[in-house]
Symmetry: C2
């Protein structure tokens, strides 16, 4: 490719709002441009990388016997309704009507579509298992797009869906996909951590994220130094150590407490430890139910866990007005004790297990400047639901008593157990078993965001001057620079060398621009970041100056020697 003909040349400045290195560099080096917020043009350089990533994913999926196909991106909304997912997907789902008023969802993921095409064949047990995948445009009406390709509203996803006669058979595929993903990301130069995660609106019982460690990432997870545990903040568990369990219960006592409304105000006023205080957080869900989350004072509530325990789809904090007028309590003085008698509408008390590590707790008394002392679970209040709603944090102990380390990373892929989540909700989602009976099939699904993977690679492979593409996905292997190209002799030999390397099957970007300074050409080469830089000039006298992108020094080599170093 002649650089003079390439569409999408380098520019000096990144967009003012770009903070992520990948966003800045991909923009400046001419790989991407924004159309509208979160929707990107892939320029020729960017599209070359995207296709190389796709090909590596394709090769590994094929090697794992998955079968590529393609579904429409406009999904009949009726399919999403079979499953009620048009609700759980919430605002992220875009819908549209055609001129006949037929409703479609713009696909965010395609579970329903794959169930639909599979059930058209009324499969038998003999047809199982199989794993179907596609590369297709996905739509997410994200509240905020950010970080260039890191969080977008439209992107190519490799999504795969596997179908099985039972959980046992699925487990084998799940492990195979774990290995396949690890191999894919290895080939792409990305070390990934496999992190337990939350299924969200995809559904199912468990899933894993493939995360590339990076401060810019949005995936917060907790891991141990030995890597034996890794889980997303949404689902991470930890050991809740007993505090004063041995103490005897004292009688409940209500006392005046002219204090502020924070937890710290409580600690100061009573001169008692934070952990002995009860933290009361009042939420309202999408059905306007009140949910009072109760947890030991030194812990925080994890809303994702709270949603799972309560079945709520959406939670928001109650307002001061709601606390006063509807719950008849007082902000900063909420208490589970007696609250059910005050409230007009429904309220659900949800207790974290940590409440059982404390005896004689203290906290508000549902009235301004009134506190309870010696609150005890079961005796003074009884949660409607009890479980783990605590947020894991850096420094906590894992359940195997290793220290948890909080990290951030970029989620580049994920694999989900779906089980019967779809096949039991959607009609005719069954197969005919050996015994002639119809049974729902068991499913898993597996996604990789291609653009985000591309961005993660740049986050990992760059320096102060530009990108350092791993060879397997570099848009070209060679950046060939002709200096003094106005000299007909140089022009002739450069053109010859360009053909020479091309004819040996190398992908080569040839900076053939006349009248551009060496400094500018070197700067562009560093910014674009191809793995090998070749320079021909009057000084190189028949040889070629050869430098690897990351190297500090260059060498003079013959074309044959360069071929030898490059072709492996």
């Amino acid at each position: 490719m002649l650089y003079s003909h390439l569409f999408g040349k380098t520019v000096k400045k990144a967009p003012a709002d770009a903070t992520a290195a990948s966003h800045k560099l991909l923009y400046q080096a001419g790989f991407i441009r924004e159309s509208t917020a979160g929707r990107y043009f892939y320029l020729p350089l960017g599209q070359r990388v995207q296709m190389k990533i796709m090909n590596i994913i394709r090769e590994e999926m094929d090697r794992a016997n998955a079968q590529e196909m393609l579904t429409p991106v406009l999904h009949p909304l009726s399919l999403w309704k079979e499953n009620n997912r048009h609700r759980s997907a919430g605002y992220e789902l875009m819908t549209i009507k055609d001129r006949r008023d037929f409703q479609f969802a713009l696909g965010g993921t395609a579970e329903e579509m794959f169930v639909d095409v599979v059930r058209k064949f009324r499969p038998s047990y003999k047809d199982f298992p199989f794993n179907l995948y596609q590369f297709s445009i996905k739509f997410r009406d994200e509240l905020r797009a950010r970080g260039g390709l890191l969080r977008v509203r439209e992107f190519i996803m490799k999504d795969a869906y596997s179908f099985h006669i039972d959980a046992n058979d699925f487990q084998k595929e799940y492990e195979k996909m774990k290995k396949t993903y690890t191999r894919i990301f290895d080939r792409l130069g990305l070390a990934t951590v496999i992190v337990e995660s939350d299924n969200g609106y995809i559904g199912g019982e468990y899933c894993h994220e493939f995360v590339v460690d990076a401060e810019i990432g949005e995936s917060k997870y907790l891991t141990t130094a030995d890597g034996s545990y890794a889980a997303h903040e949404d689902v991470a568990v930890f050991k809740k150590e007993p505090k004063n369990n041995e103490e005897k219960m004292k009688p409940l006592q209500k006392i005046p407490a002219k204090r502020g409304t924070t937890m710290e105000d409580g600690v100061k006023f009573h001169q008692l430890p934070l952990w002995q205080q009860i933290k009361d957080v009042l939420f309202v869900d999408e059905k306007d139910r009140f949910i009072l989350a109760l947890i030991r004072g030194d812990y925080e509530v994890n809303e994702v866990k709270l949603k799972h325990l309560t079945g709520a789809l959406d939670l928001r904090h109650a307002t001061d007005e709601e606390i006063r007028n509807k719950v008849k309590s007082e902000p900063g003085f909420l208490s589970p004790v007696g609250i059910k008698d005050r409230v007009q509408s429904e309220i659900i008390l949800v207790g974290d297990q940590s409440l059982r590590t404390v005896v004689n707790a203290y906290g508000g008394a549902n009235q301004l400047h009134q506190d309870f002392l010696n609150i005890n679970i079961d005796r003074d209040y009884k949660p409607d639901l009890e479980g783990d709603i605590a947020l894991a944090k850096n420094g906590y102990l894992s359940t195997t008593e290793k220290q948890l380390i909080a990290k951030r990373g970029i989620e580049v892929g994920n694999i989900f157990q779906l089980g019967y989540h779809y096949s039991k909700k959607m009609h005719d989602a069954f197969f005919v078993d050996r015994d002639g009976k119809t049974k729902p099939f068991y499913m898993g699904c597996y996604g990789i965001g291609v653009g985000r993977t591309l961005a993660a690679i740049v986050e990992k492979y760059h320096d102060g001057h530009g990108i350092l593409w791993p060879r397997a996905i570099a848009p070209f292997q060679l950046h060939f620079i002709a200096l003094n190209i106005d000299d007909p002799e140089i022009q002739r030999s450069s053109d010859y060398l360009y053909s020479y390397f091309m004819n040996h099957g190398l992908e080569i970007l040839y900076d053939d621009r006349p009248g551009v300074s060496p400094g500018e050409k070197f700067g562009d080469a560093d910014l674009i970041g191809l793995p090998y830089r070749l320079i021909v000039s009057k000084k190189t006298a028949g040889k070629i100056e050869y430098k690897e992108r990351a190297a500090k020094t260059s060498q003079l080599k013959t074309p044959e020697e360069i071929l030898k170093s490059i072709i492996r």
Copy 2:
């Protein structure tokens, strides 16, 4: 690929509404399934073919120095508005709002998007020319989907857009793309006719369709036996031979005419030739203007030509009521003579050139049972617009006096001159020329519908038993059938041969199903239509029965001999 594991097996029956051979066969053979009307799943076999077609297109576009990139499929509607195309595209365009009420068009073609990304770079003359292409999902809210993949509402299109400093430079690219397209379709096994066509809502001044002859096709065109002329019915021109031009004009005469309302009724009543009658067709356009199309009685009005001449976007026939109440005339007795004095609202008289081949014409007199004789253009009426609005038909003479032959075909690709159509309407769509001045760039665009091309191939390559895939795009090359596979010896040798051919780089579909009759396996092989069929059974005794799909007889060959015949 093991047939037993393949998702999407053959079925006996085609959908009841399928008429096109490609629709039936692609369905029965397990290449496609319908999601909703006009939106298709590509099953693994279908997707393999689709990707092979895409790769051939990609190779040839790259060879022509076009550069692949990718644009979002949700286009900001504001871009379409810069150009007023959200109107001209009409109902076919689907639009959607996101949660911030930002409006998008679902891309039908992407001219605006490419102009938008190019103008972001504020290019100079040195950057030109370039041709950018993509493979991306396109949306057309067609009134009627039909013929399986022949007319759909969602499909992958290869669309390309070229940018030039002027018309001269564009012309070279246009010719290059003509050659590139011819080469692409040749490689796909499709003979195409290059047909002049109408630009429609794409805009620009001229364009060409690549048409595969087929009765099932929707493109009607006219050509000469020697192929020197080929034009879509919408734009085809023909020679309008003079009739009685030499005659002297006689005085206009109004006479009672108790006749019916058809052209034939006029002929019978007056005992004069059809060509001497004036045909008056009254239309109403989208601005509620009346348009009276006037043409020689033996010709028909071509609405596409009429739209071009009048600038109307949409035309419908006027109702009898409108003719009576608004135009104050009479159905079947319309006449241009004096009509402007009767009508309250605007009426535009549009005359075909053929009116000048006749003297002393006859026709209605704007009153029931009153006709004019000896109507003469310029003397008795004057068209507001005059030009070619005649529909070309089989048997007419071309302008070079060769007989026109009417044909039908499938439009698989098209190339458009866009000129300044976009760059003069959209802001900042310019380049900086050598003289430092900004000038609008000159454009062309080039499309290929991948799915329709796939269907056209099946229309051309099938017989009574199934598809006959050209090798270049067959989903696999070999259909390998093991009979008596329950015999462990056969199983072992079949498995070995499967690996043998795979290891030699051949794509092979291995029908490994136990308990399926030979007849069924042969039937499936014919239906799926891979180019080479290999059979191993007890009878073949160490050799393999080899047959090309189209051949009637088979031969016994060794694996090595088969490799030799197949690997070229």
